[in-house]
Every structure is written in structure tokens, then in C-alpha cells.
Amino acid sequence: MAKENNQAISQKPAGAMKHILSFVFMIAFTAAAFFVVISDKVPSGWVVPLLLIFAVIQVILQLFTFMHLDQKGSAFYTIFIVFGIFVAVISAVGILLM
């Protein structure tokens, strides 16, 4: 398996580039999240929304590049992830509102 993957990547340098790029983005966003919390330049009301935004972007990047959601034949993963999000949202909204 690992071997096949390596070949696929070496044949398509664009794929490797994408991985490296999103890896850099990951680190950048993580660092930014730390900065938002540590620094006193960011108004405190913004901290939580900013963190949430960073988190969402990171999750999406993570899913599409490293978890290969952009490839064909991922219908099952998509179904399960969407249902997972659905259940989580219902539960969270339920607990918050009630």
C-alpha cells in the first residue's frame, strides 16, 4: 500500500506539492491560533470566533488533502462524515438551546 502511494505521488509532483503546502498551512494556522490566545493585541471578544474559524479551515484542509476526501470512491467516507457532523450539531445545538 505504502509503496503504491509513493509511486502515485512521485508520478504527480503536483500532489506532493499540495501536501507540503497544506502542511505549511496547518503549521501556520496552529501558530496563529497560539498567537491569538497569547497576544494582548487581539480584542478578547474575537478570540473564540477566530479560533473557531481557524479550526474549521484546518479540518477542511485536513480532510481533503491528508484524508483524501477529494479522491474518487470516497462516497462512504463522505456519508459517514456528514452524518457524524449532523449528529454532533444536533447534540450540541440541543444541549445549548435547552
Binding site: 452524518f83 457524524g84 444536533i90 447534540s91 440541543g94 435547552m98
Partner: protein, 636 residues
């Protein structure tokens, strides 16, 4: 400190064994022994048997606890088991039955049957499968050790934090609940994941999703429910652990916490959980009823649809356990409607079973008896469910014996009957011998009558105002007769269970040998291979040409399945001791946390990490076996 030393010695002792501190011969002997074979097996058929045996043991323990409770309630003002002891019995009964009896027996059937029904040689992750079993077992053991180490949990199986926090339940009882369930829960979660991947990836050629036998479908949906529901329990238990062990205040309202959060999290898990245990029973019923009616299952597609719909809706109804919490009329109404909606797909299933039987050549073998007994019993439980789903009415029923009657009708009349049907049906496939029919029928009738005698009066006890979870009641308030009847009924279930155990022992000694197609009516793939199957299940992967794959071939006049591949050597995974080692690590860690011995907990976690490490650098690629040619010389 004493406990710590004992644990240390135990760990050193085990380390000595695993690293060859004893001489080579000893190691060799251990490795060849049958016990070692069972402890390290990764074969889904053996793991199924382990699950079944462990589940039965816990079923008996839970049953003894229940019998004690009914003895206490036999007469008013009794003082056999009172106060805290009664609460402990009650909590351990519920927890044991749901998590340590029903769940493992469901996994037993899933392990024994699902790979065979889809034409696979094993589950997708045999190692994870073994790990799941050992984690469940060590969690269950830890929970039950509470009886000897300072008292069992006493806050109910729902462990509402108004009863479960340190100030309300002093002593280690609830800690055992928290850590025991956490460990067993990890095992269940990875077990569920395993079956999802197995069903998605390992189906034989031609086995499309709409040709899966219904038991496999329900196993699939149940695994999905496990995947989405158990994390809620994990989170809730973790928070409770922090509250009790490390002084956090998630649930302590005097410190700004909220006990309602626990209730939400518990029921977000808890309601799907009741569907996790009932759906496989539905699957068993569908297979059993169609086999013994000698008919194709009526409305297969609608059955699949109903299964998926029940699974989906199961996540949107949890608040029906919290109607009286005071969440407001809007929440209550929304969740009441959603709850009643579930009765629709359930009704679809009931009618499909009836239509399957209609006009069939019915044979009342023991599994079929359980299935036929199941239908009216379960319908009664569903009926009371819909009654409870009406919030204004639920304000009356809530926390009374009426609820107790409801959930025993669905859990015993549904899940346990389903499990018994499945055990009788697939026993020949698991063990190669048929359970005795006469004893089986006695088991069924005594259990059925005992069950109804016990739980039918409880509806009225509830309506007459007897609260649940109380250890006694007074004379002259009209509760004596019904309680007496209810306690007498237990005898029926006890006798039935004893007959079942006798049946097992009798069958293992001199039961009738089972043929490949043990009931001679087999419709699905598991009946196309010897009983018990060889370790590789299918010498050649079968080619599936329709729903009820074996029946299709039988109708076409073929004696066996058409193979989809030439005969060749088969790759098998090697046995491994790491699952049991890792579970031991979790067990030690859990015990350490409970006795507040952080060093012991650390040792346990170190064992876990070491096992993870060993596993990561384990380059064992398994081995190959040459299958026996089924045409010449092969069995059957």
C-alpha cells in the same frame, strides 16, 4: 500501598513470562497449549465464542442480582437487601445486563455470522477484533471487582450526577462504573468500527448491498450507531471521572456546573444504545423467520429501509427520557413527535415478519419458537413506548414501575429473545452440534411464561403508583399481590436459564453432529460451508448470484456455491498476545485511578504504550494455509 505492591508483583511476573525469563522449554509448552491458543486468537469464530461465553457469565451474574431484588420485593416491608445494598444490586443489574451481557452476546453473533454471511475469510481487522474483546472483558471484570473492593456503584445504570458525585455517593463504587465502562466502551467502539469496514470492504463478488442478509444489514447499522453514539458516553464518563477524581465541577451545581448536561450526554448515547441492542435482534428474527417459513423475506427492501430509518431517527429522540426535567413544552413536543415517528418503521418490520410467515411452510424448531414469541411480546413493549412518548402522560408514568415494564418488554422480549433465537439458530454453525430440541422447547416455554408473569403485573404496579428503584413498599396500599406474582415469575426465567445451561453441557458432551446446512433449510452463505467452518471459512470465495445466495443455487439445482476463484493457498493472520497485554495495561491503569494510586495508573498506561509500540514494530506478515479441496476429501 499494599494494592500497589500486589499490582507491581503481578506486572513483573507477567513481564517475566513475556520476555522469556523462564526457560525456553516452558515457553514452548505455553505456546503450544490450548489456553494460549484461545488467549491469543485473532480468528473471528473463536472470538465469537469468547464473547458468547463471557456474555453468558455476565448474564448469569446480572440474573442473580435481579433475583435478589425480586426476593427483597416479594413481601412488603422486607429487610433482606435494603438501602445501599439494594441500590448496588439495582445499578449493577442494569449496567451488567446492558453493557456486559447484551452487547457482548450481540458481538458474539456478529463475529460468528457476519463474515460467513458476506463470504469473507475474517473481519477486516482481526487484531482489533481481539483487542475489542479483551478490552470489553477487562472493563467488565473491573466493574464487577467493585463488589469486593469497597462497594459497587449505587447511582443507577444512568448514573445521574445528582446521585453519582463524590458528595452523594462516597466510596469508590461510581469510580468502578466510570472506569470499567470507559474501558469496555473503547472495546465496543473499535469492535463497531471493525464491522463497518468488514461489511463495506470484504463482501464476496456479487454480494451487493441489496443482497446482504438482514442480520448483516442490522449488524452494519448497529455498528454505525455504535460509532456515533459511544463517543457521547466517552465524553460524559471522562467528565464524570474528572469531577470525581480530580475535583472538577462539570456537574456540581453548587459550583456552577449542571447535572442536566450529564443527562443530555447520557441519553444522546443512551437512546441510540437501546437501538444498538434491538436492531441485531430484528436481524436475527428476519433470518430465522424466513428460514423456518421456507419463504423469501417479505418486503426485503422495506426492511432495509426501516432498519436505516430507525438508526437515523434514533439520534433525534433522546429528550423523551427527560420530559420531566423541565426543558419546556416546545422541546418536549418536538421530541415526542420524533419518538412516535420511530414506531412507524418498527411497525413496517412487524408486518413484514407476519407476511413472511403467512402461507409459509412453518417449522416450529426452537429458534422459530423464540421468533414467534418475540413478535407479540415486542409489540406490547412498543405500545407502552408510544404511551410513554406522550409528554403529558409521561409525567404520570415517569419513574414508576410502568417504565420498568416497558423497557423489560423491549429488552427481554426483544433483545434477549432475539439473542436466544440467534444462539439456537447458529449454535450448530459455531460449535458443529445441534442444541437439544426438547430441552430448547422447555427453555422457551418456562422462560416465556416466567417473563410475562414477572413483567406484566409491573405495568399495573406502575399505574397504582409504585415508584421504580425503591427497596420496599407498605402493606395495604394495593401493591402486595402484584409484587408477589412478579417475584414468582422470576422462578420461570431462572428455571428456563438453568435448562439452557444443561442443554449446553449436554450438547457439548453428546449433541447431534450438525451438517453444513444444519437445518436443511439454509438460505444464506453461512450454511454452504462445514459446521464448524475451517479456519479460513471458504476454501474458495463464493460467487453470489442473488439475494439468499445459497437458496438461489439450491433452486438452480446446484449442490454448492459456484466458486469465484481457483483453489490456492490462503493468507491467515498470526495470533497475537498484544491485545490481552494492552487490555491488562488498561485494567491496571483503571484500577490505579480507582484506588487513587497514580503510580499504579502510570504503570498501567506504560504497559499500554509499550503494547502500542510492540504492535507498531510487529513485522509478522501472517502465514499461509493450503485449503482442503471441498470436491475431494474435504469435509462435506
Amino acid at each position: 500501598m499494599g494494592t500497589l505492591i500486589v499490582i507491581l508483583v503481578l506486572v513483573l511476573f507477567l513481564a517475566a513470562i513475556f520476555t522469556g525469563g523462564y526457560n525456553k522449554q516452558f515457553q514452548e509448552r505455553v505456546r503450544k497449549s490450548r489456553t494460549w491458543d484461545w488467549l491469543t486468537t485473532v480468528d473471528h469464530k473463536k472470538i465469537g465464542i469468547l464473547y458468547l461465553m463471557a456474555g453468558l457469565v455476565f448474564f448469569i451474574i446480572g440474573g442473580i442480582e435481579a433475583t435478589f431484588m425480586r426476593l427483597q420485593l416479594f413481601v412488603p416491608g422486607n429487610d433482606l437487601f435494603v438501602g445501599r445494598t439494594f441500590n448496588e444490586l439495582l445499578t449493577m443489574h442494569g449496567t451488567t445486563m446492558i453493557f456486559l451481557a447484551a452487547m457482548p452476546m450481540i458481538f458474539a453473533l456478529m463475529n460468528a455470522v457476519v463474515p460467513l454471511q458476506i463470504g469473507a475469510r475474517d473481519v477486516a481487522f482481526p487484531f482489533v477484533n481481539a483487542l475489542g474483546f479483551w478490552l470489553f472483558f477487562s472493563g467488565g471484570l473491573l466493574l464487577n471487582l467493585s463488589w469486593i473492593f469497597g462497594g459497587a456503584p449505587d447511582a443507577g445504570w444512568t448514573s445521574y450526577t445528582g446521585l453519582a458525585l463524590n458528595q452523594y455517593s462516597p466510596g469508590p463504587g461510581v469510580d468502578f462504573y466510570v472506569l470499567g465502562l470507559q474501558i469496555a466502551g473503547i472495546g465496543t467502539l473499535i469492535g463497531g468500527l471493525n464491522f463497518l469496514v468488514t461489511v463495506i470492504n470484504l463482501r464476496a463478488p456479487g454480494m451487493t448491498f441489496l443482497r446482504l442478509p438482514l442480520f448483516t444489514w442490522t449488524a452494519f447499522v448497529t455498528s454505525g450507531l455504535i460509532l456515533f453514539a459511544f463517543p457521547a458516553l466517552t465524553v460524559a464518563l471522562l467528565m464524570l471521572m474528572f469531577d470525581r477524581l480530580f475535583g472538577a465541577n462539570f456537574f456540581d451545581y453548587t459550583m456552577g456546573g449542571s447535572t442536566v448536561i450529564w443527562e443530555h450526554l447520557f441519553w444522546i448515547f443512551g437512546h441510540p444504545e437501546v437501538y444498538i441492542v434491538i436492531l441485531p435482534a430484528f436481524g436475527v428474527m428476519s433470518d430465522v423467520i424466513s428460514t423456518f417459513s421456507k419463504k423469501r423475506l417479505f418486503g426485503y427492501n422495506s426492511m432495509v429501509f426501516a432498519t436505516v430509518l430507525i438508526g437515523f431517527l434514533g439520534f433525534m429522540v433522546w429528550v423523551h427520557h427527560m420530559f420531566t426535567v423541565g426543558l419546556g413544552p416546545i422541546s418536549n413536543s418536538v421530541f415526542a413527535v420524533a419518538t412516535m415517528a420511530i414506531a412507524v418503521p418498527t411497525g413496517i418490520k412487524v408486518f413484514n415478519w407476519l407476511f413472511t410467515m403467512w402461507g409459509g411452510e412453518i417449522q416450529f424448531k426452537t429458534p422459530m419458537l423464540w421468533a414467534v414469541g418475540f413478535i407479540p411480546t415486542f409489540v406490547m413493549g412498543g405500545m407502552t413506548g408510544v404511551m410513554l412518548a406522550l409528554p403529558p402522560a409521561d409525567f404520570q408514568y415517569q419513574d414508576s414501575y410502568f417504565v420498568v415494564a416497558h423497557f423489560h418488554y423491549v429488552l427481554v422480549g426483544g433483545t434477549v429473545f432475539g439473542l436466544f433465537a440467534g444462539i439456537y439458530y447458529w449454535w450448530p454453525k459455531m460449535f458443529g452440534k445441534l442444541l437439544n430440541e426438547t430441552l430448547g422447547k422447555w427453555h422457551f416455554w418456562t422462560f416465556l411464561i416466567g417473563f410475562h408473569l414477572t413483567f406484566f403485573p409491573q405495568h399495573f404496579l406502575g399505574l397504582f403508583g409504585m415508584p421504580r428503584r425503591v427497596f420496599t413498599y407498605q402493606t395495604n396500599v394495593g401493591l402486595e399481590k402484584l409484587n408477589e406474582l412478579s417475584s414468582i415469575g422470576v422462578a420461570g426465567m431462572v428455571i428456563g436459564t438453568i435448562l439452557f445451561l444443561i442443554n449446553i453441557i449436554y450438547t457439548l458432551r453428546k449433541g447431534k453432529k450438525a451438517k453444513a446446512d444444519a437445518w436443511e433449510l439454509g438460505r444464506t452463505l453461512e450454511w454452504s460451508i462445514p459446521s464448524p467452518p475451517p479456519e479460513y471459512n471458504f476454501a474458495q470465495t463464493p460467487l453470489v448470484r442473488g439475494f439468499d445466495a445459497l437458496w438461489v443455487e439450491k433452486e438452480a439445482g446446484n449442490k454448492s456455491m459456484t466458486p469465484a476463484e481457483p483453489l490456492g493457498s490462503i493468507h491467515m493472520p498470526s495470533p497475537s498476545y498484544i491485545p490481552i497485554l494492552m487490555s491488562l495495561g488498561f485494567f491496571v491503569a483503571g484500577f490505579g485511578f480507582i484506588v487513587r494510586g497514580i503510580p499504579a495508573a502510570a504503570i498501567g498506561l506504560i504497559i499500554v504504550v509499550v503494547s502500542l509500540f510492540l504492535r507498531s514494530f510487529d513485522y509478522d506478515k501472517g502465514y499461509h494455509v493450503e485449503p482442503e479441496d471441498p470436491e475431494k476429501g474435504g469435509k462435506e
